[in-house]
Amino acid sequence: MGVEELERNIIVTSLERLVNWGRKYSIWPLTFGLACCALEFMVAGSASVDMARFGSEVARPSPRQADLMIVAGTLTKKMAPMVKRIYEQMAEPKWVIAFGACACTGGIFRTYNVVQGVDQIIPVDVYVPGCPPRPESFIAALIKIQEKIEKETVRERKLISIP
């Protein structure tokens, strides 16, 4: 009997709520600044707009230790395999924010070397438009990710996997 076939009784939903509570209030971002939007992300981590109060205390440089990948900036075709590789090297559960117009759709760069949106190669959870978006928009995106995590159920992500 797999965990996915469990009915959603009170025990499972309480466990879900506990696990989702833990996950959403301790999201560690992976810094993936590619261009100018990275600076807005840095400001969002600094004192005036503080993302540490939402649980993103440390921005990890390594994908093995991060939950949330924030692609901030223009993605060129030369950089695309690296983005994909780093996304694959992150451990589940993982989420992706496409930050800025270039990461959402390619921005103003309709050219020969720009990938038209980072969702051509990795799945994205939240899109943040703007060129560049204000740091407050980043906090809004973080809160949206938290709302998304809150509604996750056992069917999408297993809570435990008994070998």
Binding site: A80, R110, Y112, N113, I121
Partner: protein
């Protein structure tokens, strides 16, 4: 640049220039493809233009099609000079990467964007675009979107292909 320095430069390079002009106190020399290394060596050693600040290609559409532009700067005298050379499509220019180390990557960029080859370059290959890119984007007949804009973009990682 002082008048005496300009005159001494023009005097020293008298037979090797195609033309020279000055615009707003910037001196530009136009040389033939075969004389490029000699002229630049004279400028570097005799007139102490010891810094190459830029090496770029230009697509001018009228034959000879391309121009390679060298911007030199003299740290001792504090002035700048520009050297232009016209190249045909498919021709080779001699490399200056042994005189200035930065010319290595600048020539690779000129090759990557225009297709101008440099004879004697230690490692002439693409630098800004992916290795399997077809075409030279900064030429005037290359469309901005590229040739395969309509096809969806796919990435295949080496570990998965092995």
């Amino acid at each position: 640049m002082t008048e005496t320095r300009k005159n001494s430069i023009l005097e020293a390079l008298k037979g090797r220039l195609v033309s020279a002009y000055e615009f707003r106190e910037e001196l530009t020399l136009i040389v033939k493809k075969e004389d490029v290394r000699g002229v630049l060596r004279t400028l570097k050693e005799t007139f102490s233009y010891d810094m190459l600040t830029d090496l770029c290609g230009v697509d001018l559409r009228e034959p000879p099609r391309f121009a390679v532009v060298y911007h030199l700067h003299s740290m001792k005298y504090g002035d700048r000079i520009r050297v232009k050379v016209r190249v045909e499509d498919g021709d080779e220019v001699e490399t200056v990467s042994d005189m200035w180390g930065c010319a290595d990557w600048l020539e690779r960029e000129a090759y990557d964007m225009f297709g101008i080859r440099f004879k004697g370059h230690p490692d002439l290959r693409r630098i800004l675009l992916t290795d399997d890119f077809v075409g030279y984007p900064l030429r005037k007949d290359f469309p901005t979107e590229g040739y395969d804009f309509d096809r969806p973009f796919e990435v295949r990682l080496e570990e998965e292909m092995a």
